[in-house]
């Protein structure tokens, strides 16, 4: 990857440069600096200068020191921005969090995150009494929103904050350490962290400092409030309590006082009651509170005051509690984790460690377990029995990204060659040699760690054991010491040659030929008219130089072929010996075949002249076309047949514009019917229209033919059907609705470049083996399965993930833990057959508390989203949503019942590891697929549905909970990325500009009262009213603000696997509706609950379960 992506691309694409290199940087930030990336960085820096410490990052992690300074500034900046109102000073006072808190609650929404922190501690302290013996407990408790929990850990006010962080970090001391550090130079720790992470981090880091404290704070305050309210509260009180915390919204004003649990409870109850009055009021209240602080918002929500009165009661924590900010904040959690875990490398040697969050930049050292970049689990501690698992309802799943791209300073897996005998495997379960295999009898045998079978060690593999029973050569052999590595596959791992071998080949198997890429271009009227064909052909000319290469290969082994089509197909013979390309038209779409063999798939360099000539001529040849009908299935079939004829695997890049209505297999009709929404038949919108597509996909998989589909529809194209083949073959779908060259060129080209250049494995089979006791039972992702265990992927790239769910079929042993081994057999882009092995050891527990303490909410959400998105194929959407809610409630109820310290029923107590589960789950429930708004097309839903299916954890995280970055809060000089704010309208200040991104969309929201100077320097127009709404490109202006914003946009884009098109949205503008759709903490137009409402609802559900 590195090589291919970073270096080569740079020169060819002028602008794109930033994107590619950026990508490295951003994602891996600091790490990248250390190694090769240096070069890309250089390039990148140029443009980015605006950003903070980027340069230092480049250098390495070490820089923390260097980073520090900037960090500090950053912090300062952040502080200002964020807490401006509060006063920056607070930030420093780690311990004094309380102080901060106070201010926060009182005043600003932004501060909110911090505020809670502060408050919590405060609260906690008071409660301090709680038994908090071990930090662990603290952690647990800490996480919960409810006060009750909090109490335990709060050994010290600060303690709280730490617990959260600690949880991950482990040691309690660390907490203190952290805190200690903060006070001193909060900046430093934070800054360091930030510095390394690079651009991204900066944003968070700033907040993180504050945040680190915050979490506890938030917990703290709420708890109190909760309890209080619950008891006293109206009937709802109980449940509300917990909510109150979240809900605290209402309390904010009054709430502060509400600290007294009882008193405040009153108000919260409404929340539970959700039903009637409670709801709106609550919201209002919550917002109100928030707004209260902010002048701007204040006005809109008159209601707030009323609530305020309610909260009135709670006095103890007057400043903090009931603050809307009191409900668990994703921003806060992310920042905390960044601060706490972003600095140290994550060493994988220890079994069952929970890795840092996906939003944190960290370095991984492989010491026997696969990096979290490859595998993330919903829980790193698995219940020993199925009973426990059932009780907890926590899905046991792993999100596996077998070919994940690593940051430059993490070594890619070593390739091990076991010679002709092939990789060493267990005779019974066929697991591959791994560090967990136990050598016995002096090294002559080994016991399989998965099935306990005892196998002989082949003589050539024999090695003596040392006194600890380890092989002497353990550290010389990757397969004995690392979590991830590759084996060279022998011919036995290759395809069986069809029929032919009997005659002339000694072996039925054959090594694959290097793969091929086939570009299949729609040349119907639509495609020509929009300029797509011309653009694409022009781009391909240069893009073909950047096909993925293996290692240090001079040129790519991949061959290319070209097909154009409308309702017939045109193949091109681009053999190097020809003076001109030859076009071969196949009109027999009902019975597709490949009309030529020689000259269709060619080496780019050899046939360059012919290819160039072809690409020049294609737009001309069809310039006058009047053909509007297209076919689809025959096109893919043709590509597949071509690969079959060439006896290789490969990828088809399909550029398609319209619903395939021409007479041919797979012909579709327009069945878009919005009336089906919310009916039992809604599922049909997600199902393919005909079975032809699945059948075709199966054939493609058998041939190792992966399809990447680029759609350019003007109207309904039935994405649900068209995406079946890409989906089942491990391909990607890109959709550019109403494509226009002027507007969408950059996005499309950027996606195309990335897609063509990325490293792909072909003709892959993935198998997940587990310790006896659990087994993989369900799989989600873009692939095909012909049996229950083997995941077949015609193609697999570094962005694709497979989510695997495990179920018990026996008891697990606490001693030996649970092992996972993911083996991926694939053909590299040079045609080499390989096996990539990832091993991961998990702990097993007999106590539910252990389970809850080692969960990862982001992964959980990834799983649940995929589960739900698959569910809509077969069940009404409503049922799917209910299932999700119920499961979530069960998980939380189980925790409450079995792990949380006893407390009033009215309290909402969330496990620390899962405190974001409700907010995230709400985002999933509100997503377009599960709750479509009026403006969401059927195609969009289907598109998103299939996109999510292969997303990794980081992508689902930001997709469901978008990042909202304030741009003008921090000084322009600040080089760190601004701290994100919560995705809610009330967090927006009309005097500010914000960036919002979710991995697919990127908005620049401009407040109505933004300073004129800012408008001028960003948009080069003199006033707000002159800004063009819907603008997609910021003018390139030579001023710090413009540079910074553009730099930030570039870096955001670089982090994502797809190019995000920028849309400038003005406050109060029509487009703002679109933008608001992404403010996921708010109530959505389509009926999605606000965060607060949902939390209340969840609390109610939990209470019902508990009672």
């Amino acid at each position: 990857m590195n090589v291919n992506q970073s270096i080569p691309p740079v020169p060819p694409f002028g602008q794109p440069q930033p994107v590619y290199p950026g990508y490295h940087q951003s994602s891996y930030s600091g790490q990248s600096g250390s190694t090769a990336p240096a070069i890309p960085y250089g390039a990148y820096n140029g443009p980015v200068p605006g950003y903070q410490q980027t340069p230092p990052q480049g250098i390495s992690r070490a820089p923390p020191s260097s980073g520090a300074p900037p960090a500090s500034t950053a912090q300062a900046a952040c502080g200002q921005v964020a807490y401006g109102q509060f006063g920056q000073g607070d930030v420093q006072n780690g311990p004094s969090s309380a102080v901060q808190m106070q201010r926060l609650p009182g005043s600003q929404p932004f501060g909110s995150t911090l505020a809670p922190v502060g408050s919590q501690p405060a609260v906690l302290q008071p409660y301090g009494p709680p038994p908090t013996s071990a930090q662990v407990t603290a952690q647990l408790a800490g996480m919960q929103i409810s006060s009750a929990v909090v109490p335990a850990p709060p050994s010290s006010g600060l303690g709280y904050g730490p617990p959260t962080s600690l949880a991950s970090a482990s040691g309690s001391f660390p907490n203190s350490g952290l805190y200690g550090s903060y006070p001193q130079g909060q900046a430093s720790p934070v800054s360091q962290a930030q510095g390394h992470p690079g651009i991204q981090t900066p944003q968070r880091s700033a907040p993180s400092q504050a945040s680190s404290f915050t979490p506890p704070a938030s917990g703290g305050p709420r708890l109190p409030s909760m309890t209080g309210p619950l008891l006293p509260g109206q009937g709802f009180g109980g449940p509300s309590v917990s909510q109150p915390n979240h809900v605290s919204s209402p309390p904010p004003q009054a709430l502060p006082p509400g600290t007294q649990m009882t008193g405040p409870l009153g108000p919260p109850p409404p929340m539970h009651s959700l039903q009637q009055p409670g709801y709106q009021p609550q919201q209002n209240g919550s917002f109100g509170s928030a707004r209260g602080p902010q002048p701007n918002y204040g006005s809109p929500y008159p209601a707030a005051p009323t609530f305020g009165s309610q909260p009135g009661p709670p006095q103890p924590l007057p400043p903090k509690r009931l603050d809307p900010d009191a409900i668990p904040s994703p921003i806060q959690v992310i920042e905390d984790d960044r601060n706490n875990r972003g600095t140290e490398p994550f060493v994988t040697g220890v079994r069952g460690q929970v890795p840092p969050l996906v939003t944190t930049n960290f370095l991984v050292k492989d010491q026997g377990n696969a990096s979290p970049r490859y595998i993330r689990c919903t829980s790193y501690n698995i219940p020993c029995t199925s009973d426990m698992a059932k009780q907890a309802q926590v899905p046991l799943a792993a999100v596996i990204k077998p070919l994940a791209t690593l940051p430059p300073d993490e070594a890619s897996p070593y390739v091990v060659d076991h010679g002709e005998s092939g990789p060493l495997r267990c005779n019974r379960c066929k697991a591959y040699m791994c560090p967990f295999m136990q050598f016995i009898e002096g090294g002559r045998r080994f016991q399989c760690c998965f099935c306990s079978c005892i196998n002989d060690v082949p003589p050539q593999y024999f090695q003596h054991l040392d006194h600890t029973g380890k092989r002497v050569d353990a550290y010389d052999r990757p397969e004995l010491s690392l979590g991830s590595y590759e084996f060279l596959a022998t011919v036995d791992y290759c395809k069986v040659r069809e029929g032919k071998w009997l005659l002339s080949f000694p072996s039925p198997f054959f090594f694959p030929s290097p793969p091929a890429f086939i570009f299949m271009i729609d040349v119907s009227y639509n495609a020509i008219r929009t300029g797509l064909v011309r653009l694409l052909c022009e781009e391909l000319k240069s893009l073909l130089d950047f096909l993925p290469r293996e290692g240090g290969a001079e040129e790519s082994a991949i061959r290319v072929g070209f097909v154009t089509y409308n309702k017939v197909l045109h193949f091109y013979n681009v053999k190097s010996s020809l003076a001109q390309p030859q076009m071969m038209v196949v009109s027999d779409v009902a019975d597709m075949f490949v009309p030529l063999l020689d000259g269709f798939l060619v080496n780019v360099n050899e046939s360059r002249a012919v290819i160039t000539s072809l690409l020049d001529q294609i737009p001309e040849m069809f310039a006058d076309t009047r053909e509007t009908e297209t076919v689809f299935v025959p096109v893919i079939q043709a590509g597949m047949e071509a690969l079959k004829a060439a006896e290789c695997a490969g990828k088809l890049f399909l550029f398609h514009t319209s619903l395939p209505i021409a007479e041919a297999p797979g012909k579709l009709k327009n069945r878009d019917d919005r009336k089906l929404i919310n009916t039992d038949k809604e599922k049909t919108l997600f199902q393919p229209q005909t079975g032809a597509y699945q059948t075709l996909a199966k054939e493609c998989v058998a041939q190792g033919c992966c399809i990447d589909l680029f759609l350019f529809p003007n109207q309904y194209v039935d994405v649900a059907t068209l995406s079946v083949v890409p989906q089942l073959t491990g391909g990607s779908v890109y959709k550019y609705a109403c494509f226009q060259v002027e507007n969408d060129q950059e996005r499309f080209l950027s996606d195309l470049r990335r897609d063509v250049q990325k490293v792909v494995g072909f003709d892959a089979v993935m198998r997940v083996r587990t310790s006896t006791g659990i087994r993989a039972v369900d799989f989600f992702g873009a692939f095909y399965m012909s049996n229950t265990t083997d995941v077949e992927l015609a193609g697999l790239d570094g962005d694709k993930t497979v989510t695997v769910e495990f179920k018990h079929d026996d008891r697990l042993n606490e001693e030996s833990g649970a092992l996972l081994q993911c083996a991926l057999l694939y053909t590299s882009c040079a045609g080499q057959r390989r096996l990539r092995i990832h091993n991961l050891a998990l702990n097993c527990c007999t106590q539910l508390a252990d389970l809850y303490r080692n969960c990862e909410t982001d992964t959980l959400i990834n799983y649940m989203a995929k589960f739900a998105y698959r569910g809509v194929l077969n069940s009404p959407v409503k049922a799917v949503r209910d299932t999700l809610i119920t499961q979530c409630a069960q998980i939380l109820a189980c925790y409450r019942k079995n792990c949380a310290s006893p407390s009033s029923a009215g309290q909402l107590i969330l496990p620390e590891c899962m405190k974001l589960l409700p907010v995230y789950l709400n985002c999933v429930l509100k997503s377009d697929v599960l709750q479509p708004g009026a403006e969401v097309t059927t195609d969009d839903r289907a598109y998103v549905r299939q996109l999510v299916t292969s997303m990794d954890v980081a992508e689902t995280n930001v997709f469901f909970y978008p990042r909202l970055l304030p741009l003008t809060k921090s000084p322009i000089e600040s080089t760190t990325e601004p701290t994100a704010v919560r995705a809610s309208e009330e967090r927006l200040s009309n005097g500010d500009i914000y960036l919002l991104e979710n991995g697919l969309n990127l908005f620049l929201w401009v407040g109505a009262s933004v300073q004129q100077g800012v408008v001028q320097s960003l948009f080069s127009v003199s006033s707000f009213s002159q800004i063009t709404s819907g603008l997609s490109v910021l003018p390139v202006l030579d001023n710090p603000l413009s540079k910074k914003v553009r730099g930030l946009i570039d870096s955001l884009r670089a982090q994502r696997s797809r190019y995000m098109k920028l849309i400038v949205v003005k406050q109060e503008d029509k487009l703002e509706m679109l933008f608001k759709h992404f403010l996921v903490e708010d109530k959505s137009l389509s009926g999605g609950a606000s965060y607060v409402d949902f939390l209340c609802h969840m609390h109610k559900e939990i209470r019902q379960l508990l009672s």
Partner: protein, 767 residues
């Protein structure tokens, strides 16, 4: 007009007609007793440089069922400006244009010397000739190269405005678009799938301007030619393009593994060619020229599988009903041939391969459409190259010697009916009063379509005398037959040639001598041979031979002079004397004998036999043998083993082969190099003479005969030995060593034995 021979010859030259009987028996009963049916060989386009250019349209009889053309035999009332049709006796008014007609001012069609006349029609759009090349690419490299060169060369021979198209095939079938610049474009079809004409046209995008857009754009007609022109372009426009395209043609790229035949989709390729023309240029002159280098091995029309270990069907397999694909393939090609014929196009087959190429199955394509069939060993031989070139030779007017889309309409006077025709034609199924219920050949109609014909294409047309015995024809009565041939001249002009002939009726009981004397034994032999060959296509070989023998015997019984049971007394008159000999050689000919011939060869021979004129047909039946020696000028000698002498050079012309055979002594002399010695220049001349004569034949013949130069004891001498009458065989070796010729190693009976036998049977009263 002294003798019948002269009369016959004159008639042939003037009208292109040879009748088996030149005086017709006047009753049905008598006619059947004549054994040889009343029939004629008719060459519709007999070359007639002296015909006047008649630039108007023929005058037709107004009776709808008759529509005979005004001819010299009609009675004309110059005063009343009326003419009486000599077929139906309808009285017709002359059209206004004939107002000035009088005894001294006659239109050409009334002049006796213009019993054959040609009208040139001016009306109707003229459409250019079309040549669609269908080229097999599963060839050896040098074969393909030679073929490419031939094709490129042919472009220069085509008229500049002729349309050409190119279809290539191997495993796939490619229809090349000829109009494009830059990228060369072709439509590709799977070779295994039969497509309907509609599908083909859809897939080629030829039907686009059909329904959907029609309302929107009324100006469609203009677009139509444009659309089809993608595949068929005037030569002058794209000859550079096409030359390059042909030059770049590669061998079929699909790998052929060991032990396999290349996959060759001839059936589909032809089907597409037919469909292409059918959709774009129905009823205009077009040649589909198929060049193939091997048997079709896949898809519809496949003749043999691709496994080399399973050989292509032989006669043996066919007899054993062991030819798996034959029936299906034949059906496929027959269907194609019929469609092609219906469209007025013709299909040529140029098959060059050492093994069979499936001509047996494909023969109907050429037979029914009047296309050529050429068989050779390789495209890289002069046989193919020159034959191919010869197709484009021109006549003295600079026109191609080919015509298209002809319909032959035959009209007879009431005493006659039409029984059928044998030749490169298909029935148009036009029933009428003059159509007989008894079929001979392709019958049941009075009109046939001949999609492709040249100046020598000859049909055998068979008649039936229907006059009842009890309704005698008045003395001196004449029967008349009119042949009306509409065709597209190679200059794209529509023409109508009308030949009207009349013969005397004679009462067979009283005037048998007249009839006998008017017997044309050559024509009769050929006509009988055609019948035999026609039967052989559908019947078992021995049955046909038996039928032929029976006919011969009956003829001899009828016309021989003999005493019963006394073979020695048997005599035949001059006009019959050669007939038994023709039959003898016909029995031995490859047209009826499949032994030693592959099914393809048989089909090939029969194809040519069914379309050549009388002279050529006779050569085919009984090859000509010339002898060269120092004893005198070259002389024709008996086609007999006794003619094979040591000091002679023989030149044999079998139509398909030209064999030069040096006698033993001559061969030794040549070996000794006498011809190079000045003092033996006469020997050199002797050697040269047959070569020159052979050249002469080679130049004129189409298709080019196989040219064989051999000598006594040479392996190729078998061609000669298999043809000559085996008067000496290993069975009657008495002549060993004598100068009486060479014995032939065969069990076949010799002519002498045959004749003896015939006499015996003829005189016996048993049958």
């Amino acid at each position: 007009m002294a003798t019948y021979l002269e009369f016959i010859q004159q008639n042939e030259e003037r009208d292109g007609v040879r009748f088996s009987w030149n005086v017709w028996p006047s009753s049905r009963l008598e006619a059947t007793r004549m054994v040889v049916p009343l029939a004629c060989l008719f060459t519709p386009l007999k070359e007639r440089p002296d015909l006047p250019p008649v630039q108007y349209e023929p005058v037709l009889c107004s009776r709808p069922t008759c529509k005979a053309v005004l001819n010299p035999l009609c009675q004309v009332d110059y005063r009343a400006k009326l003419w009486a049709c000599n077929f139906c006796f309808q009285r017709n008014q002359f059209p206004p244009a004939y107002g000035g007609i009088s005894e001294v001012n006659q239109p050409a069609e009334l002049m006796p010397q213009f019993s054959t006349i040609e009208y040139m029609i001016q009306r109707g759009a003229q459409s250019p000739l079309i040549f669609l090349y269908v080229v097999d690419t599963c060839l050896e490299e040098d074969d393909l190269q030679a073929l490419k060169e031939s094709l490129q060369m042919s472009l220069s021979l085509l008229p500049p405005d002729a349309l050409v198209g190119l279809i290539t095939f191997g495993r796939m079938v490619q229809v090349h678009e000829l109009s494009c610049e830059g990228i060369s474009k072709s439509y590709v079809f799977r070779g295994t799938k039969d497509l309907t004409a509609k599908q083909i046209q859809d897939m080629l995008g030829l039907t686009k301007p059909a329904m959907p857009m029609q309302q929107a754009r009324p100006a469609q007609p203009q677009e139509h030619p444009f659309v089809s022109s993608r595949f068929l372009q005037p030569v002058h426009k794209i000859d550079m393009n096409l030359t390059d395209l042909l030059g770049e043609l590669q061998r079929d790229p699909w790998p052929v593994t060991q032990g396999k035949r290349p996959l060759r989709s001839t059936g589909v390729a032809l089907s597409i060619a037919v469909g292409l023309l059918e959709g774009t240029f129905p009823n205009t002159g077009a040649r589909i020229m198929l060049f193939t280098g091997g048997p079709p091995t896949q898809g519809p029309g496949m003749v043999v599988g691709d496994e080399l270990k399973i050989p292509i069907r032989s006669w043996h397999d066919i007899e054993k009903d062991n030819a798996r694909f034959m029936k299906k393939a034949t059906k496929h090609y027959e269907m194609l041939a019929n469609r092609t014929a219906a469209n007025g196009h013709c299909i040529d087959i140029y098959a060059c391969a050492l093994d069979q190429t499936g001509l047996l199955e494909m023969k109907c394509c050429a037979n029914l459409t009047g296309g050529y069939m050429v068989m050779g060993d390789s495209f890289n031989t002069s046989l193919f190259k020159q034959t191919f070139q010869r197709i484009f030779t021109k006549d003295f007017n600079g026109d191609f010697r080919m015509a298209f889309g002809a319909t032959l309409d035959v009209k007879t006077s009431r005493e006659l009916k039409i029984a059928g025709a044998i030749g490169p034609c298909v029935s148009l199924n036009v029933k009428g009063p003059c159509v007989s219920e008894n079929e001979l050949g392709v019958g049941g109609t009075s009109q046939w379509k001949i999609c492709g014909l040249d100046l020598t294409s000859t049909l055998g047309i068979y008649f039936e005398v229907v006059n009842q015995h009890n309704a005698p024809i008045p003395q001196g009565g004449r029967g008349a037959i009119q042949f009306v041939t509409h065709y597209q001249h190679s200059s794209t002009q529509r023409r109508i040639r009308v030949t009207t002939i009349a013969r005397n009726w004679a009462d067979a009981q009283t005037q048998l001598r007249h009839i006998e004397a008017a017997f044309d034994q050559e024509a009769a032999a050929v006509l009988m041979a055609r019948l035999g060959v026609f039967r052989a296509e559908s019947e078992e070989g021995p049955d046909v031979l038996r039928w032929l023998d029976r006919q011969l015997i009956r003829l001899c019984q009828k016309f021989g002079q003999y005493n019963k049971e006394d073979p020695a007394s048997f005599r035949l008159s001059d006009s019959f004397s050669l007939y038994p000999q023709f039959m003898f050689h016909l029995r031995r000919s490859p047209f009826l004998q499949v032994f030693n011939n592959s099914p393809d060869e048989s089909s090939y021979y029969r194809h040519h036999f069914a379309r050549q004129d009388l002279t050529q047909s006779l050569i085919m039946i009984q090859p000509i043998l010339y002898s060269y020696s120092f004893h005198g000028p070259p002389e024709p000698v008996l086609l007999d083993s006794s003619s094979i002498l040591a000091d002679r050079i023989l030149l044999m012309d079998t139509f398909f082969q030209i064999v030069i055979y040096l006698g033993e002594t001559i061969a030794q002399w040549r070996k000794a190099g006498y011809q190079d010695m000045p003092e033996y220049e006469n020997f050199k001349h002797l050697l040269q003479a047959p070569l020159d004569d052979a050249q002469e034949i080679l130049q004129a013949r189409f298709p080019m005969p196989r040219y064989i130069n051999t000598e006594h004891g040479g392996s190729q001498a078998r061609f000669l030995l298999s043809k000559v009458n085996p008067s000496q065989t290993h069975n009657n070796l008495y002549a060993w060593g004598q100068e009486t010729g060479a014995p032939i190693l065969t069990d076949d009976v010799s002519l002498q034995v045959f004749m003896d036998h015939l006499k015996k049977l003829a005189v016996s009263s048993a049958c």
